[in-house]
């Protein structure tokens, strides 16, 4: 019987928490954007004229096919992160795309229409150098892969290895390039720095070395960029120090040294400090490359040259020119060159490759985004028009990772913001009020000026509100007659306004490339973007909302702290999060590395919260630092505490602000680094509300929560990684007094530890190295049956340590990230959002993670709605909030409250971005979509009339009785 009750309790509790999306709700309040990252290789499918495929391989180890008409993804393959999945080379021939992955570990061939894997070959070890398609008699049959010490040839249709040969003297010679002109030979080019070039000639059939020669080249420093093979096997190199070009026919036996051609004889000069780049083109791997090539002499100077009869002749000089690229369609090869037009636009022109003559009417104007970066890559798709002239489209990649696809005469066909594939941090900001609402708000902000004007102002604003309401009603009526699909109105930056329930917000996203985005949370439209130049890679970003939208007419204000990873020097960028405009507020200079930032509840006269920045000499800089602020800081200095973490020394220290804005050390906790190292420190979220102070127990007594807003959760990992001795340490430290409130070790455990610290609980996930599984553990802190001081919490006056309850559970899946839902008032029950590596987001009710779950159910635990303890955490498919919209490589989950208590906004970011709403306690404050208004109103009216009639009947009856 007890077991039946247990099961009943479980099923009831599940009934209570189960929630899923209905089919017709798909895409109603959620959206997903898929990204690929920074493009490293891009190839257009020139196999057929009508083909729309664009194959790309990116630095995020993504191999994808884009629709070149719309920019949408046809398919996408996301490989492992890190060097293991790194895409080394991408080659395409016909319907096949050959990819070398993982520093030459794997060779894969993909079918390009549907993205299916045709074959995969595991290559021998050795670091990857180059790969090339090899053609024999006008047919491309093989692919050659050059490693540091070996070359292998594979069949293109099956992937089987034809032969593999060791390279001669590979310990001294650096082999870097493969070349084949379709004449049955493969040339492998290598060099010994500052000495000579080595050319080895292999026979395609069996890999026999036909010839091997070395040619004097004392100036040589790298083969890859400064050399190219052009025109039926001529090696061409350029050297900056000698200001010369060198040529060498690969096949001839008599040449023992390279022929030097001084650039001076061509009236050319390489810009000082610039490594010149040679670009040649080989339209068909089975045929020799063209005799024409580009030589880049300085960042904005290209020249098209031709090698003819051992003579190099300039065809056309492009000065200035940013980018140049070859493209081939059919038999015609063209060169596209991007030159500057004016400050805001570039023009791209098409030139015939063999003559250098400009094609008429081929200009594409590329308008540079004033908030974007400079273009740095140009990919050209050339095609033959009906009249046999060459048409083309270009894809431009800029420094801020925007891909723009353009066609003549400059129409932007599509744009992709690939910077969003690497979101570092984000915030959600409320949208501003509409004009009328703002008007009403403004009324209260102004100084009172007499009774009558106030009354008039009130009346006028009420009238405006009435007007707006009428207009709204009219619009509703008008829209109701139109079909539903056409009602959807575009979101633009001008029409932005807060909706009734504050469900639509502005997502401010900071990406690793230094580009900021403002995205509408309802539709996913990018409303503004701003590229910050000169941001070093791996910088650390911290986004702070200093002033929300609530302080009309002051605009909202966000501050981004950008910290250099090596030097620790920081800089501040202040902007308006709604419009993306940079603020003109003077920003304090930060000459010293910033250790810690602190957003105080102190506000200046313009309602901006004060940001304190602590540098490495423990000096404090306030921003904004007006007189008013400094005065307030002096008044509140004794109650401003902050902490610093030095994980390299295992030191946590607490400081107090002094009147003169200097600081004093007040506590120190040192966790010896020989035993364990601090991996993460997390406080609670400042905007979190806790509705109930305690939990009502089965016997109607109250167990009060220990709600310490200053509590820090410090997670450590042991330095000993032996599976029996490794452990994870959990310290709960008060950030004001430095008191260790709780200290626990999870033995036989290992990181990575993900954790959420909220309310009175801490949930963490670790890897149990003994049982080889992921486990959840939950810690809850309670003050007990009585509160020490129920009115106010002070870390300085809470002498009794809290009671700590803890329980652990098995979680049958790996985890990428963890976050908790957040609602406006904290009444709604909490869920944990678990990002899984599979791309699913699990919404796990917190009631499953409750250390008070009883072993045996009793009357009291049933009264409290506690689920009996089960060691394994269930995973139910209806808990996946993103149904089939998986998010690749989840890195973070951001939650924000909405105006509805039941609703929490969720943004998941990683390679993709997914936005949705979750309702942890279901939509208790919203009527359902399919709510039957007709029924309820007819029942109401029916009842109303029934009462009227029965009243009348009763009256008649009473009257009749009275007459009797």
């Amino acid at each position: 019987m007890a077991w039946l009750v247990v099961r009943l309790a479980i099923s009831l509790s599940l009934l209570y928490t189960a929630s899923a999306v209905f089919e017709d709700q798909v895409g109603k309040f959620d959206w997903r954007e898929q990204f690929i990252g920074k493009v490293r290789f891009a190839l257009f499918d020139t196999h057929s004229q009508a083909s729309k495929k664009l194959l790309v391989a990116t630095d995020k180890n993504v191999f994808a096919s884009l629709n070149s008409r719309t920019g949408d993804l046809f398919w996408r393959h996301v490989d492992k992160t890190g060097p293991e999945g790194h895409i080394d080379a991408l080659l395409m021939y016909g319907q096949d795309a050959v990819v070398v992955v993982g520093n030459g570990r794997l060779l894969r061939s993909w079918e390009t229409t549907v993205g299916g894997l045709k074959w995969e070959a595991v290559l021998d070890t050795g670091s990857f150098q180059a790969a090339a398609l090899i053609g024999v008699q006008d047919f491309v049959k093989y692919v050659a892969v050059l490693k540091k010490s070996a070359i292998s040839l594979h069949d293109l249709s099956s992937g089987s290895q034809i032969w593999v040969e060791n390279l001669p003297d590979s310990d001294t010679v650096q082999y870097q390039t493969i070349y084949s002109g379709g004449n049955g030979l493969v040339f492998v080019l290598g060099f010994v720095p500052s000495s000579h070039i080595v050319i080895v000639e292999y026979k395609i059939e069996d890999g026999e070395i036909m010839k091997k020669k070395s040619v004097e080249a004392a100036w040589m420093s790298s083969l890859e960029n400064s050399c190219a093979v052009i025109s039926s096997g001529n090696l061409l190199c350029v050297d900056q120090t000698t200001q010369s070009l060198y040529t060498l026919p690969l096949q001839s036996a008599e040449h023992t040294e390279m022929r030097q051609i001084h650039l001076q004889t061509l009236d050319l000069e390489v810009a000082s400090g610039f490594q010149p780049v040679l670009t040649s083109t080989q339209p068909n791997p089975a045929q020799p490359p063209l005799a024409e090539f580009f030589l880049q002499l300085s960042p904005d100077h290209h020249i098209l040259l031709q090698l003819k009869d051992d003579l190099i002749a300039p065809l056309r000089d492009f000065n200035p020119s940013y980018l140049a690229a070859f493209a081939t369609s059919g038999e015609k090869t063209v060169a596209a060159v991007m030159t500057s037009k004016n400050d805001t636009a570039c023009s791209i022109n098409l030139f015939s490759a063999d003559t250098g003559r400009r094609h008429l009417d081929t200009t594409i104007i590329y308008h540079m985004d004033p908030n974007g970066g400079k273009p740095n890559r140009l990919y050209v798709h050339a095609f033959l028009k009906k009249d046999d002239s060459v048409g083309y489209r270009v894809m431009v990649q800029t420094e801020d990772l925007t891909l723009t696809f353009l066609q003549q005469p400059g129409r932007v066909v599509w744009m992709r913001e690939e910077a969003l594939a690497d979101v570092v941090t984000m915030e959600m900001v409320d949208l501003p009020l509409t004009g009328t609402q703002a008007e009403l708000e403004g009324e209260f902000g102004k100084k009172a000026d007499g009774l009558l004007p106030m009354v008039l102002k009130r009346l006028s604003s009420q009238f405006i509100l009435l007007q707006a309401w009428m207009a709204h009603l009219w619009k509703l009526f008008y829209d109701a007659r139109k079909p539903r699909s056409s009602v959807k109105n575009e979101v633009t930056i001008d029409t932005l306004s807060r909706d009734e329930f504050n469900l639509q917000k502005m997502m401010v996203m900071v990406t690793a490339s230094g580009k900021l985005f403002g995205i509408d949370s309802k539709s996913g439209t990018v409303l503004w973007k701003q590229y910050l130049e000169d941001i070093k890679p791996d910088s650390i970003f911290k986004l702070i909302v200093q002033r929300t939208t609530a302080h009309f007419p002051h605009p909202p204000q966000c501050t981004l702290l950008i910290k250099d990873k090596d030097t620790g020097l920081g800089s501040l960028y202040v902007f308006n999060p709604i419009f993306g405009k940079k603020s003109h507020i003077s920003v304090p200079a930060l000459p010293r590395p910033v250790l810690q930032t602190l957003l105080l509840p102190v506000i200046d006269q313009d309602y901006a919260k004060v940001l304190l920045l602590i540098d490495d000499q423990y000096k404090v800089t306030a921003f904004p630092s007006t007189k008013n602020v400094l005065q307030q800081l002096q008044d509140t200095a004794s109650s401003v505490f902050f902490y610093l973490v030095d994980s390299s020394q295992g030191k946590l220290s607490g400081f107090r602000l002094r009147m003169d804005l200097s600081t004093e050390l007040i506590w120190e906790v040192v966790i010896p680094t020989e035993v364990q190292k601090i991996v993460a420190v997390k406080g609670k979220r400042a905007n979190e509300h806790v509705h109930s102070q305690g939990r009502v127990m089965g016997d109607r007594s109250v167990l009060y929560k220990y709600l310490n807003p200053n509590l820090l959760a410090v997670i450590t990992e042991s330095t000993d990684i032996h599976q029996e001795r490794s452990f994870v340490g959990i310290f709960l430290i008060d950030g004001v007094t430095g008191r260790i409130v709780h200290e626990a070790v999870q033995r036989k455990a290992r990181g990575p530890v993900h954790f959420v610290h909220s309310e009175n609980w801490l949930v963490y996930v670790y890897w149990n190295s003994k049982f080889r599984r992921n486990e959840f553990s939950v810690l809850e802190l309670f003050e007990g049956a009585e509160l020490y001081n129920s009115t106010v919490f002070s870390s300085l006056d809470r002498p009794h340590p809290p009671q700590v309850l803890q329980q652990s559970y098995i979680f049958p899946a790996p985890i990428s990230t963890l976050e908790a839902t957040l609602t406006e008032k904290g009444i709604t029950s909490r869920h944990l959002l678990v990002g899984l590596p599979s791309g699913s987001i699990l919404s796990l009710p917190k009631m499953f993670l409750d250390p008070r779950r009883p072993e045996l159910i009793s009357e009291q635990s049933r009264e409290e709605n506690l689920i009996p303890y089960a060691p394994e955490m269930p995973i139910r498919t209806e808990w996946f909030i993103n149904y089939n919209q998986t998010v690749s490589r989840v890195r973070g989950i951001y939650t924000a409250p909405s105006g509805l208590e039941s609703t929490c906004l969720v943004v998941v970011y990683g390679l993709d971005i997914y936005q949705t709403r979750v309702f942890p306690s279901k939509q208790f404050d919203v009527l359902k979509d399919d709510y039957d208004y007709v029924l309820i109103s007819s029942v109401l009216f029916g009842l109303f009339f029934a009462t009227m009639i029965s009243k009348r009947l009763a009256e008649v009856k009473l009257l009749n009785r009275a007459w009797r």
Binding site: E668, G738, R739, L856, Y869
Partner: protein
């Protein structure tokens, strides 16, 4: 059966109790000291220093000596001096300006075999508001926290009561002797998923089910002999209804269901 249940109940209660932060009222509360429990302690002492200054610049003076006792029942005792007249006055003055009373101990390892190893330099410090110390008549609770291998990582000091109400402490005698409760706290071992008791419980349930099959039968299995005739009767009456020419919506549906 009942005994087992009671036993597991006690177990669960015990496990909760061990998790609770029992307030350490005594100097030696028998708390386990992690790994350090089995190692032998020979007594050694560590200075406890304190500082309370009007200008709030810490100048640490000796307050007492923490004496760690060896043996299995390891404990710590604090031998401390009385506050001098001058100190008492300073303390009062500091309390009046809401200054801090700081304490510190050097970073030491409580494990004897590590004592001889290199001593990590530096101190760990903590503070309490001087006024609360004065108002509590120098009754403070000092807790030393150690890590798994017995290194002291943190110290905390609280006074009971901890508030500052601005009560004047007139009696000089109240500020002479510290009434200190001192304890050493080692990290507790966090629980792991308790699979064994759960499986045991499941087995019990299964056993019970096997023993008492009658009870486990479902509602339908138990009462089918009543349900089937009832359903048949309803169907028959429905069919009769329709043949009788009633032809209502209900009759039609009943008929449809019957087929």
């Amino acid at each position: 059966m009942a005994t087992i249940r009671v036993f597991s109940l006690i177990l669960s209660v015990l496990s909760i109790i061990t998790l609770l932060w029992t307030q350490s009222g005594e100097c030696n509360n028998g708390r386990r000291l992690g790994d350090a429990v089995d190692t032998d302690f020979s007594g050694f002492s560590v200075p406890l220093e304190h500082s309370f200054e009007i200008d709030d610049v810490p100048r640490f003076r000796l307050r007492g000596a923490l004496q760690f006792r060896g043996g299995r029942e390891n404990g710590v005792y604090l031998a401390q001096n009385q506050l001098s007249e001058k100190d008492r006055n300073t303390m009062k003055d500091v309390a009046a300006v809401d200054g801090l009373y700081r304490i510190r101990v050097p970073r030491v390892s409580l494990q004897v075999d590590r004592q001889t190893e290199k001593q990590s330099e530096g101190y760990i410090t903590a503070f309490v508001r001087a006024c609360s110390l004065v108002e509590s008549h120098l009754s403070d609770v000092i807790t030393l926290h150690t890590d798994v291998s017995g290194n002291v990582i943190g110290i905390s000091i609280v006074t009971i009561p901890g508030s500052c109400r601005g009560i004047e402490v007139e009696d000089e005698v109240d500020l002479e002797v510290f009434n200190t409760t001192i304890s050493v706290v080692a990290p507790v071992t966090a629980p792991v998923p308790e699979t064994a008791p759960y499986i045991e419980r499941m087995d019990q349930e299964m056993e019970k089910k096997g023993k008492n099959p009658q009870e486990q039968k479902s509602f339908f299995a138990k009462y089918w002999m009543y349900i089937v005739p009832l359903v048949l009767f309803l169907m028959m009456s429905g069919a009769q209804d329709q043949s009788g020419g009633g032809g209502g919506a209900g009759g039609g549906a009943g008929n449809g269901g019957g087929r």
